[in-house]
């Protein structure tokens, strides 16, 4: 009975909250409400009486919702029954003429049977692989090496980014004079960025970022990482080789979907975030390095180039976020939830079928003319 009362509490919580009543209120006779619900179809009076007794702000409003609440409650009971959580109260409600519960149970039993059949087939197909996955263990040393390598790569990328920032700031004055001016300025007023007050700069004012501080921090990190890092890394960093960063931009587009009365763009709650990772410049910069004789066979750069090439024109999709690994040329995007067929992305004039995936999948143009025609129509109507 406890679980049944819990169902009733869950269903009634928002309704009672509207009436300014918390379900933890001790004046609520849950036992009486529960009994009232059980006999609601044959005799709703006991439940009405109980609701009036509770002196709610607007009992009629609650009563007007009872049909829906009863239906939801029966769904909860049917689910319990189908999942084998049997209860005397449920048994008592079964087999009655026009029993809502009976019908719900039949429907849910069939749903469960279909899902069970599908999942059984899937598990049988997957058993071997499941065993491998369960027994798969990565040696701690391998894990450590992999993490170390990744940390180094990240740090090098950060260096490149800072190098690029520094190049933008063409400071003609010696560093110590610049620092002294920054110090004086700081004394006068705090600001994250400081402008130089020289005559030259007043004509062409620049913002000088304090990027050198990041270097100091990075240097400290490197010292802490220890001599091992430099010894094991036999290639000295060549500061002339600046790798371009991956350009990441985001934009949010509304999902065009069928709302029962045709396809509409529901801007309020159905949106997908598009994240673009444009590797073009980075690929070019790696190729430039590999074109030099010294780095021609450098596996470090080669490996990264291979990985980036594999990522070209791929996507990862998790329903709320679509990551696109492609050149961002300010294309125009539409995102459509196309009934049973799932999601389609339109980039300029081409449609791409998008599936849920955690690993990168190639964008493939939809060539089915019927589908394309329907999708074009949806976009036309939506525009």
């Amino acid at each position: 009975m406890t679980s049944i009362i819990l169902h009733i509490k869950n269903r009634l919580e928002p309704v009672f909250q509207e009436q300014g009543l918390l379900i933890s209120d001790k004046s609520i006779e849950w036992e009486a409400i529960y009994k009232g619900f059980l006999m609601y179809i044959s005799d709703p009076k006991p439940l009405y009486q109980e609701l009036y007794r509770m002196k709610l702000k607007n009992p009629e409003h609650v009563i007007s919702q009872l049909d829906n609440l009863y239906d939801a409650f029966m769904t909860d009971l049917a689910e319990d029954f189908v999942l084998g959580k049997n209860n005397k109260s449920i048994i008592g409600l079964l087999g009655k003429e026009d029993s809502i519960l009976d019908n719900k149970i039949i429907a849910l039993q069939q749903l469960k049977a279909v899902i069970t059949k599908t999942e059984r087939q899937r598990i049988i197909q997957d058993l071997d692989e499941m065993g491998q996955r369960a027994a798969f263990v990565i040696a701690e040393s391998t894990l450590e090496t992999a993490l170390k390598k990744k940390a180094r790569t990240d740090l090098k990328e950060q260096f490149s980014a800072w190098d690029a920032e520094l190049k933008e700031v063409k400071v003609e004055e010696p560093m110590h004079e610049l620092e002294s001016k920054i110090y004086q300025k700081k004394m006068l007023g705090s600001s994250k960025t400081l402008e130089l007050d020289t005559e030259e700069n007043s004509r062409n004012s620049r913002v000088i970022s304090l990027s050198w501080i990041k270097y100091a921090v990075a240097a400290s990190v490197l010292i802490m990482a220890g001599i091992f890092y430099f010894k094991s890394f036999d290639r000295t960093d060549n500061i002339d080789h600046v790798l371009a960063n991956v350009e990441t931009t985001t934009q949010t587009v509304s999902i065009i979907e069928n709302q029962g009365m045709g396809y509409i763009s529901n801007e309020k709650d159905q949106q997908v975030e598009l994240i673009f990772n444009d590797y073009t410049k980075r690929i070019v910069s790696i190729k430039d390095i590999l074109n030099e004789d010294t780095y021609e066979n450098d596996s470090f750069y080669k490996n990264e180039l291979d990985s980036l090439k594999l990522l070209e024109n791929t996507y990862v999709f998790d329903e709320n976020q679509l990551t696109l690994n492609l050149e961002n040329t300010n294309q125009k995007f539409h995102f459509i939830h196309f009934n049973d067929a799932g999601f389609y992305l339109k980039i300029d004039d081409s449609f791409y079928h998008v599936i849920n995936t955690n690993s990168p999948v190639k964008l493939v143009v939809e060539n089915d003319d019927t589908i394309v025609e329907q999708l074009e129509k949806i976009i036309f109507e939506n525009d």
């Binding site: 869950n10 749903l111 899902i115 058993l127 065993g131 996955r133 369960a134």
Partner: protein, 203 residues
């Protein structure tokens, strides 16, 4: 964690959290279970190739018992699996109108842990009803469409109805804000599936 050092009970507990461990049990016990069943089917019409299918069914029986939450291991896992294998073979024998090979029974070494079985264990797969019925096949096709369309609905429904995850576990798994939202999401998914099934039946 070294999986090979885990006790049977610990493995069973792990299967509840991660079904991949069922694959590990499958591999570890397969050889002995097949050997066990091979001795039972001597002189019957059951083909050797069918033993693999029976063993896979036994894995499903084990998994469904574990996720249902009322599975208590009262013997070693190998003994349990042998017992269920035996019961499944018995059912097959019944289906082909044959008797069990009692001579084979007598030759089992009851002291060998890999040959022990408990005749009281008669666990079987839950019957799915008539899966050829039009409504069933329509729902099946609809479920496949739901799976192919991406999104979380297929996973949500299977985790709830087959893998018996609670609303709290599903809330955690999908990152919803509270179990009530998860429940609403599940209701929407079921509605979507019903609509798809309706379309299937009317096309």
């Amino acid at each position: 964690m070294n999986i090979t050092t885990l006790s049977d009970q610990e493995l069973v507990e792990l299967v509840k959290e991660d079904q991949d461990y069922l694959g590990y049990i499958y591999k570890t016990h397969k050889e002995y279970c097949i050997l066990f069943m091979r001795r039972l089917i001597v002189g019957s019409k059951i083909k050797e190739e069918e033993l693999g299918d029976i063993y896979q069914d036994v894995m499903l029986i084990l998994y469904e018992k574990i996720v249902k939450g009322d599975f208590i291991l009262t013997c070693s896992l190998q003994t349990y699996l042998n017992s269920v294998c035996r019961y499944q073979v018995l059912n097959k024998f019944k289906a082909v109108g044959k008797q069990l090979n009692f001579e084979a029974y007598e030759s089992f070494d009851v002291d060998s842990i890999n040959e022990q079985y408990d005749p009281q264990i008669q666990d079987d797969l839950e019957d799915l009803g008539n899966d050829k019925e039009a409504q069933f096949t329509a729902l099946e096709a609809a479920l496949q469409k739901l799976k192919n369309s991406g999104g979380k609905c297929y996973e949500l429904l299977t985790l709830f109805w087959y893998h018996r995850k609670s609303m709290a576990e599903l809330t955690d798994h999908f990152g919803y804000t509270n179990p009530s939202n998860t429940k609403n999401q599940k209701a929407k998914c079921q509605k979507r599936l019903e609509k798809l099934a309706f379309n299937e039946m009317n096309t």
